[in-house]
Symmetry: C2
Subunit: 465 residues, 2 copies
């Protein structure tokens, strides 16, 4: 969340837009960070968008547009003439340009590609080959690159020539004559060494800190996280250096993936878009949630069927109703906890394929202890508090027997639900599915059914109904 200082310039800008003071708007926009500019843009009324964009011009608008939610990008680009769009696309870094072209419609993409210079167009087309969610799809090719055979002086001159077009010189990568990645340097390594030092002598070799262009973006982000990198080099299958994925992309990727996990666990479907919550329409919200809800509702009918079949048990001992929702819900809660822990641990790369049984065994024991605790609590509740309420019990039944029933049913339900909650995501992965598809509501719906069966069967056996 931005602090109070940060909102000040945005508010000032909004006031200037309101007052239609175009020169003030332009001056302020020049001083502002593109992320703040994007925030201000989204607070404007829709009919103010066009004039605002024209006022700040394509060069300043370029970086800002990248920060906008998908639904606003095509509209914002529509405010500019073809010649202004040329300027805008030229301002963008290559990965941002590709991002935008992937977000707009097919017709607009072709039109925009035609506006690029021949060099930019070729580069953009080659990057568009990679899926949006691969390392290649997220990389920038404008990187500092020198040859191992160069001297420090030659390397600095080469970097100086490419300075304008380079996204970051924080890390400089070293290639051999064939363009294969072999090492890296920091700018200070060049600056603090004598001019005739060979690059090969001062570079650090790069071992495993690289990623294939076709690898999933999450793999790239996790490597940047693991190795604390500013930039991760992207290579093809022969080791040729193609580009880098930068730290800011990695942060965005990790945030997107976390949001996706959270939503899937809660039973919200569909791809997580780059839209913010408030920018998502009710129709989209409806679509993403309706599927799971409807499916789960039909699973719940099974629970109802079990309840109906055992209806006579409830009408013989009304008191059993008091604990039914609790036994059932306890399974859903603990199963959801277990699956959530396991899914998150898998996302963080903490659980390998070969610890499946270690995890399941751990959860089985945790589940048993949790079930025993709950069972004991509820048995104590039944024996200590319920006598004050003078519930009518059929002849031959005692509160002691009811307490025992509840304790046994709860322990069984919680143990089995915890075990199942950990096994289902592990099973999903073994079946090459995303573990997060096993949402907490899905587990709850399943163990609702088993909970009903467990509760009524235990009651029948112990109470002799």
């Amino acid at each position: 969340m931005p602090d109070d200082e940060a909102t000040l310039p945005i508010d000032e800008l909004l006031r200037a837009v309101e007052a239609e003071d175009q020169s003030a708007v332009r001056a302020m926009a020049e001083e502002m960070h593109y992320a703040d500019l994007a925030q201000a843009f989204q607070e404007l009324e829709e009919e103010q968008h066009g004039l605002f964009l024209k006022t700040i011009g394509p060069a300043l608008a370029a970086d800002m547009i990248v920060e906008l939610p998908d639904s606003l990008i095509e509209e914002a680009l529509g405010a500019f003439s073809p010649s202004e769009l040329k300027v805008l696309f030229h301002e963008l870094s290559d990965d941002d340009r590709v991002d935008i072209l992937q977000d707009v419609g097919d017709e607009a993409r072709l039109r925009f590609l035609g506006l690029l210079g021949p060099e930019d167009e070729e580069l953009t087309r080659s990057l568009l080959k990679y899926d949006h969610d691969t390392a290649g799809g997220r990389m920038t090719t404008r990187i500092g690159r020198v040859f191992a055979s160069q001297t420090v002086k030659q390397a600095i001159e080469m970097l100086r020539r490419s300075q304008e077009s380079t996204e970051t010189l924080s890390r400089i990568f070293v290639v051999d004559e064939k363009g294969r990645l072999i090492g890296k340097l920091r700018f200070r390594d060049l600056a603090f060494n004598t001019w005739d030092t060979p690059v090969r002598d001062i570079m650090r070799e790069i071992g495993t800190e690289r990623v294939l262009a076709t690898a999933d973006q999450e793999e790239a982000a996790n490597m940047l996280l693991k190795y604390d990198l500013i930039a991760l080099p992207v290579v093809d299958e022969f080791g040729h250096l193609l580009g880098i994925v930068t730290h800011d992309d990695a942060m965005e990727i990790l945030q997107e993936e976390s949001t996706e996990d959270i939503e899937k666990i809660a039973g919200i479907g569909g791809e997580q878009s780059e839209e913010t919550y408030l920018n998502t329409t009710i129709l989209t919200q409806f679509r993403r949630r309706a599927g799971w809800l409807t499916g789960l509702a039909f699973v719940s009918i099974l629970s109802g069927y079990v309840m109906m079949r055992f209806g006579s048990v409830l009408s013989q001992v009304f008191l059993l109703s008091l604990f039914l929702p609790m036994v059932v819900a306890a399974g859903g809660n603990t199963g959801g906890q277990a699956s959530t822990m396991v899914i998150r641990a898998m996302s963080l790369g903490e659980i390998d394929e070969d610890c499946t049984w270690q995890v399941a065994w751990k959860e089985l024991r945790t589940g048993f202890f949790l079930g025993a605790l709950l069972g004991t609590c509820m048995a104590a509740f039944t024996l200590v508090l319920l006598p004050f309420f003078h519930f009518a019990l059929p002849p031959g039944l005692t509160l002691g027997k009811v307490a025992f029933t509840v304790a046994v049913a709860l322990t069984t339900q919680v143990t089995s639900a915890t075990f199942l909650g950990s096994l289902l995501p592990l099973g999903a992965r073994a079946a090459k599915l995303d573990p997060a598809v096993v949402s907490a509501p899905a587990i709850a719906a399943i163990v609702d059914v088993s909970g009903m069966v467990i509760y009524f069967s235990v009651a029948r056996a112990i109470l002799g109904l």
Copy 2:
């Protein structure tokens, strides 16, 4: 997840440890990234730890130990003698040193502080003043810092002298005579300008891209994310530059916070530690989950109480049991979806205080549409499929009336549960609580009760029971 290439050197190292080939272990450890080294360390047997640490020595072990889970850090440090520990602590960057000292026990902290040189000790003590989860607690003070009044030549010489102790020169910060932050530079800005250029002329001014040392670490991480920064300057209330929070810290913070959100939403309590899932003991797991489970179980007894009170309704029309679990669960599912969406959007800074009613109104409508959809599905199911099963109905009741009951109850339950699911986290924030304390299971437990009341009341009214 590491790719196949990445696991190779780790496996090789493990084989060398197994073969007790100490010179090979040392040679390999020198070539490896500390993150890989930490991974290898955790795969060793516990009795191999001591020899392994002695073999690689304190200098190489330093960065590796920072990457270990909390529970292993104090044990690992115990393998070294006081003189080796001096070397180890000297190798660490100041923020990592503080991190470690915050993780160990009080007695160990005092002992380790005594091993630092006077300068390091003073610095470390001053950093320990900041809470671990503030910007000050995560910052490093070893930064590139130059004065606005210097020339490029003076600035480069100053940086060269402090080269050894500086964590990153990717961003160099510019201060005035009083040490107040006023701008920033990239190394290339110095390298590609003439030596007599004043720093003031080539620096870029820093506006809102700074954070107070006492601010929450999440605020710092979100600013790094928003502004795509490599390093965020940390200042005191007077604007004096104290240090920086770097991009890799920001990534860790964001991952930790996401995990915490996910766990809280699933009803898992307590602070999220830096432990991995497999390193957490069953006792810890039990403690973190038992609280919510037990509390929710008692809330569920309320549902049971409602069910018991309305028991006569169920025994008059057995068919109503078929839909009871479904109506109740649909509320829990949709309420959980709504709260999850709202909590995540708040974490991402997408919902300000002043859009509370906008969000609630949006969820109210989404909830109504979802409820109407479910209600229609279930009414159709009742009218089209149930006649085939020839359920006995009391005189005067028709399947049409039952279908109408289910549809009305479902729509009411889903609408109110969705509305409540969005309002509770917003209310928690208004009450200065963490919105994520409103876990999905808690919402489910609450709307279970209201669902029972809604279902039975609607049934009584429509069916005249």
